[in-house]
C-alpha cells in the first residue's frame, strides 16, 4: 500500500463523512475555564456554507473509511472498491486545533468506519476526544458517534469528553435494516442510545446537587435515518421520530434523503435524484412537532400514509381542518396562532406581546413579518376578514399553490408531471 499524504487522506475521509447530516454545534455552553482554547456557544455557530447550501460548523471527518460491515446503503461498504485511508489520533487532533485556531470551525464531529471490532474503533475515537480535552486544553464542541456494539464503558467515557453523542438508526424499521445491513440489528443500536439517554438524565440530576459534577454529553443526543432507500411511509417515519423524542429524549432526529451511492445493488430503489422535497417535508413536520406543538398524529392522519409534496404539512393541516379557522389574532391563544399558515414561532410570540398594547390589523401583521399572502385566508384581525366560508380545501389549496408556482410547487423536482407538456390533438376551431 503506498502512503498517502495528510491532504489526500483528508480528502478521502471528508468525502466519506459528508453523508452524515448532523453538523449542529448547538446546545452546549462549555466554558473556557482552563484558559485554553475554545468554548461552546449555546445557539451554535455556522462558519461556512458549501455549494449544497449545508452549513459547515464542525470539522466532520471519519477516522477511517475501512469497514468490516457491508451495508447496502453505505458508500464505504466493505465490498466497494474505493480508496481507503486512516487518520491517526494525533493527525485528527492537530487538524482540529489548527482549524479551530483560525476560526474555521466550531469543533470536531468524529465518526468512523468499523475496523477490527466496534470496541477497537470506539476506543481510538475516545482517545481523540480525551487528547483534545486533556492535552490540548480544548473546550470547543465535540460530537462523537457511538459505534453500535461498543462496550458501555467506552460509551461512558466518550460521553464525558464529548458535547453531543449520536447513534445512527440508518433505516426506520428493523426488517428493512436486516435486509440492507444483515450484520446490524436494532438491539445493538438501541442499547448505546438508551445508555446515553440514562447517563444524560443522571448527570443532569447530579448537576442540580453538585454544581461542579462532570457533565455527560451536555448537548444531548441525536440520530439519523435514511429516507427513500426503503419503502417506509412518511407516517411511519414521523411516528418513529416522535417516539424517539419522547422515549429516548433525543435532541434531534436527522433525515437524509437517499443518494444512490451503490446503484448496482438491486435491493435498493433506482433513483435519479435524491428525494429532496420529501426530506424537506419531513423536516418541516419535525419542526412542527418540536416548535409548533403539533402531535405526530395531527400531521398525518390514519388514512394518509404520505405527506403532500405540494404544500407544507402545516398548510396541509389547516386545509384539512378548515373548521378551526379563521383564527382571531387579537384573542386566540398562542397554540392556535402558531397553527396559522404563514405565522412562524417568532411572529407568533411577537403577536402575543404586541397585542397587549393595541389591537393589531393586517398592516401591523405584514410589518411583523407574517406572510399575509397565505395567512389572510386563515385569520381575522381588527378589520373585515377575507371571506373564508365558501372555500373548500381543494379550491383553497389550488389558489395557494397556483399563486406561488416557483416556490411551492416542488413536486416537479422529483417527478415528471403527467400533463406538463400536454398539447391538444385537434387544432383549435378559431
Amino acid at each position: 500500500m503506498e502512503t498517502k499524504t495528510v491532504q489526500q487522506r483528508l480528502e478521502i475521509l471528508s468525502d466519506a463523512a459528508k453523508y452524515d447530516v448532523s453538523c449542529a454545534s448547538s446546545g452546549s455552553n462549555r466554558k473556557n475555564a482552563t484558559k485554553g482554547i475554545g468554548n461552546g456557544v449555546a445557539c451554535g455557530i455556522c462558519h461556512s456554507f458549501t455549494e449544497d447550501g449545508r452549513c459547515v460548523s464542525l470539522f466532520k471527518i471519519l477516522m477511517t473509511n475501512h469497514c468490516i460491515y457491508d451495508c447496502a446503503y453505505c458508500a464505504n461498504r466493505r465490498s466497494n472498491d474505493r480508496q481507503r485511508a486512516t487518520l491517526t489520533v494525533e493527525e485528527i487532533v492537530d487538524l482540529t486545533i489548527g482549524f479551530y485556531r483560525s476560526n474555521y470551525i466550531e469543533g470536531l464531529f468524529l465518526s468512523s468506519g468499523v475496523i477490527k471490532s466496534p470496541d477497537y474503533t470506539m476506543e481510538r475515537m475516545v482517545q481523540v476526544a480525551r487528547k483534545l480535552r486533556m492535552e490540548e486544553n480544548f473546550n470547543g464542541y465535540i460530537h462523537l458517534k457511538a459505534i453500535p456494539g461498543a462496550s458501555p464503558e467506552l460509551v461512558h467515557e466518550g460521553g464525558l469528553w464529548a458535547d453531543r453523542m449520536s447513534v445512527n438508526l440508518e433505516i426506520p424499521t428493523e426488517p428493512n435494516l436486516k435486509l440492507l445491513a444483515p450484520e446490524k440489528n436494532y438491539p445493538a443500536i438501541f442499547s448505546p442510545m438508551t445508555q446515553i439517554r440514562n447517563e444524560i438524565l443522571a448527570s443532569k440530576e447530579e448537576v442540580k446537587i453538585f454544581r461542579n459534577a462532570r457533565r455527560f454529553a451536555p448537548a444531548g443526543q441525536s440520530t439519523q435515518m435514511i429516507i427513500g432507500a426503503t419503502p417506509e411511509t412518511d407516517r411511519q417515519i414521523i411516528l418513529l421520530s416522535s417516539g424517539l423524542y419522547k422515549t429516548q429524549n433525543l435532541k434531534r432526529v436527522y433525515f437524509s434523503g437517499y443518494l444512490p451511492v451503490n446503484d448496482y445493488d438491486k435491493r435498493l430503489p433506482a433513483l435519479t435524484r435524491p428525494p429532496l422535497v420529501r426530506e424537506n417535508r419531513l423536516y418541516q413536520s419535525d419542526w412542527l412537532m418540536r416548535f409548533y406543538r403539533f402531535k405526530a398524529e395531527e400531521i398525518l392522519t390514519d388514512d394518509q400514509p404520505f405527506l403532500d409534496l405540494d404544500v407544507d404539512p402545516k398548510l396541509g393541516y389547516a386545509l384539512r381542518n378548515l373548521h378551526l379557522f379563521p383564527v382571531d389574532i387579537n384573542r386566540a391563544d398562542y397554540e392556535m396562532i402558531l397553527r396559522i399558515p404563514g405565522v412562524g414561532v417568532q411572529s407568533a410570540q411577537r403577536i402575543i406581546l404586541a397585542r397587549r398594547h393595541r389591537k393589531l390589523n393586517s398592516e401591523h401583521l405584514s410589518k411583523l413579518g407574517i406572510v399575509m399572502k397565505r395567512a389572510k385566508y386563515f385569520l381575522t384581525c381588527n378589520e373585515l376578514p377575507v371571506s373564508t366560508t365558501d372555500w373548500t380545501p381543494e379550491k383553497l389549496k389550488h389558489k395557494l399553490v397556483a399563486g406561488a408556482v416557483s416556490k411551492n410547487k416542488k413536486s416537479l423536482d422529483t417527478q415528471l408531471s403527467l400533463f406538463g407538456n400536454y398539447q391538444p390533438v385537434l387544432p383549435p376551431l378559431h
Binding site: 473556557n32 458549501t50 449544497d52 411577537r350
Partner: protein
C-alpha cells in the same frame, strides 16, 4: 424649530437626550455635527458630550427595560442608519413617560423599526463570529481583517477573548480603519498605519505569514470542496446564508473567485 447637534458618539447622543429634558425642548431632529446640514432655517443647539449626564440617562434606560432588552437602544444606535436618533429619541420619550414595557409594542412603527434594526446589528455581530478567519503571522499573531456593515467589532471582542484565550489575535475593521488587539491579557484598540496586509481583502502579505499557515489553508480548502455533496447543489441557499460581501475574506471561497 430646534435641532440638536452632537459629536456622533453614543455618549453624546445620551447627553443630547438629557439636555432636551433639562432645557425643556423637543427637537425636530438630532444629528451628528459631522453630518450634512439638512435644516436651513432651524435653530441649532450644539451639545457637548458629558459622561455624567449620559450615564444618568443610560441608568434610566436600564431601569425601564426588561432584562432581555438592556442593550436594545445601544444596538439600534450602532446601526448608524439615517435618522435613527429621532426614532430612539421618540422611543425614549415614551419610555420615560410611562410604566408600560413599551419595548414589546410592535404595533408602533418606531418600536418595530428599532427592534428590527437592533436585530440587524446583532446579526452582523453574529456574522463576525461566523466569518472571521485568522491568519497566523510570523510573529505569532493571529490576524483577521474584515468589513462589517455596522461597527460591531467591540461587541464581539469579549466572545473572541473567551474563545481564544491562549493566543494573540487582532481583529481589524478595514472600513473604519481600527482594530482590537488581544495580547493574552486584555483587548485594546489599535490603529495600524504601516499596513502589511491588503486593505481590501484583509489578506496578510505572503512574506509575513507563518510557516504552516498556507498548509492549513490548503487543507481547509480541500476539506471544504470534499465535504460538499454535488448531487444536492443549491447555490441560492448557499448565498442566502453566506452573503457575497464576505467571500473575499474567506479562504475557502477564494478558489471560486
Amino acid at each position: 424649530m430646534t435641532i440638536i447637534t452632537y459629536d456622533g458618539t453614543f455618549g453624546g447622543f445620551l447627553t443630547a437626550v438629557f439636555e432636551s429634558y433639562n432645557r425643556k425642548i423637543f427637537p425636530v431632529d438630532i444629528c451628528s455635527r459631522m453630518g450634512e446640514q439638512k435644516h436651513l432655517f432651524a435653530q441649532k443647539t450644539d451639545i457637548q458630550t458629558d459622561e455624567a449626564k449620559a450615564e444618568r440617562v443610560w441608568r434610566g434606560i436600564q431601569q425601564k427595560m426588561t432584562e432581555k432588552n438592556k442593550q436594545f437602544v445601544f444596538y439600534a444606535f450602532l446601526s448608524e442608519e439615517q435618522g435613527i436618533e429621532m426614532k430612539i429619541y421618540r422611543f425614549l420619550r415614551r419610555l420615560f413617560s410611562g410604566n408600560l414595557d413599551i419595548e414589546t409594542d410592535f404595533g408602533d412603527p418606531d418600536v418595530l423599526y428599532l427592534t428590527q434594526t437592533s436585530r440587524k446589528v446583532k446579526q452582523e455581530a453574529m456574522r463576525m463570529l461566523q466569518f472571521v478567519r485568522f491568519q497566523h503571522t510570523k510573529d505569532g499573531l493571529y490576524f483577521c481583517g474584515i468589513e462589517p456593515r455596522y461597527d460591531v467589532i467591540p461587541l464581539v471582542v469579549s466572545q473572541f477573548q473567551k474563545r481564544f484565550a491562549d493566543q494573540r489575535w487582532l481583529l481589524y475593521d478595514l472600513k473604519r480603519n481600527y482594530g482590537m488587539l488581544y495580547d493574552k491579557n486584555k483587548p485594546q484598540e489599535v490603529v495600524i498605519s504601516n499596513k502589511e496586509f491588503s486593505s481590501i481583502t484583509g489578506q496578510v502579505n505572503d512574506n509575513v505569514l507563518q510557516e504552516g499557515e498556507e498548509f492549513y489553508q490548503k487543507l481547509w480548502k480541500s476539506y471544504f470542496t470534499h465535504i460538499n455533496i454535488q448531487e444536492r447543489k443549491n447555490l441560492k441557499l448557499q448565498r442566502q446564508h453566506l452573503p457575497r460581501r464576505f467571500w473575499k475574506f474567506l479562504p475557502e471561497m477564494m478558489i471560486l473567485n
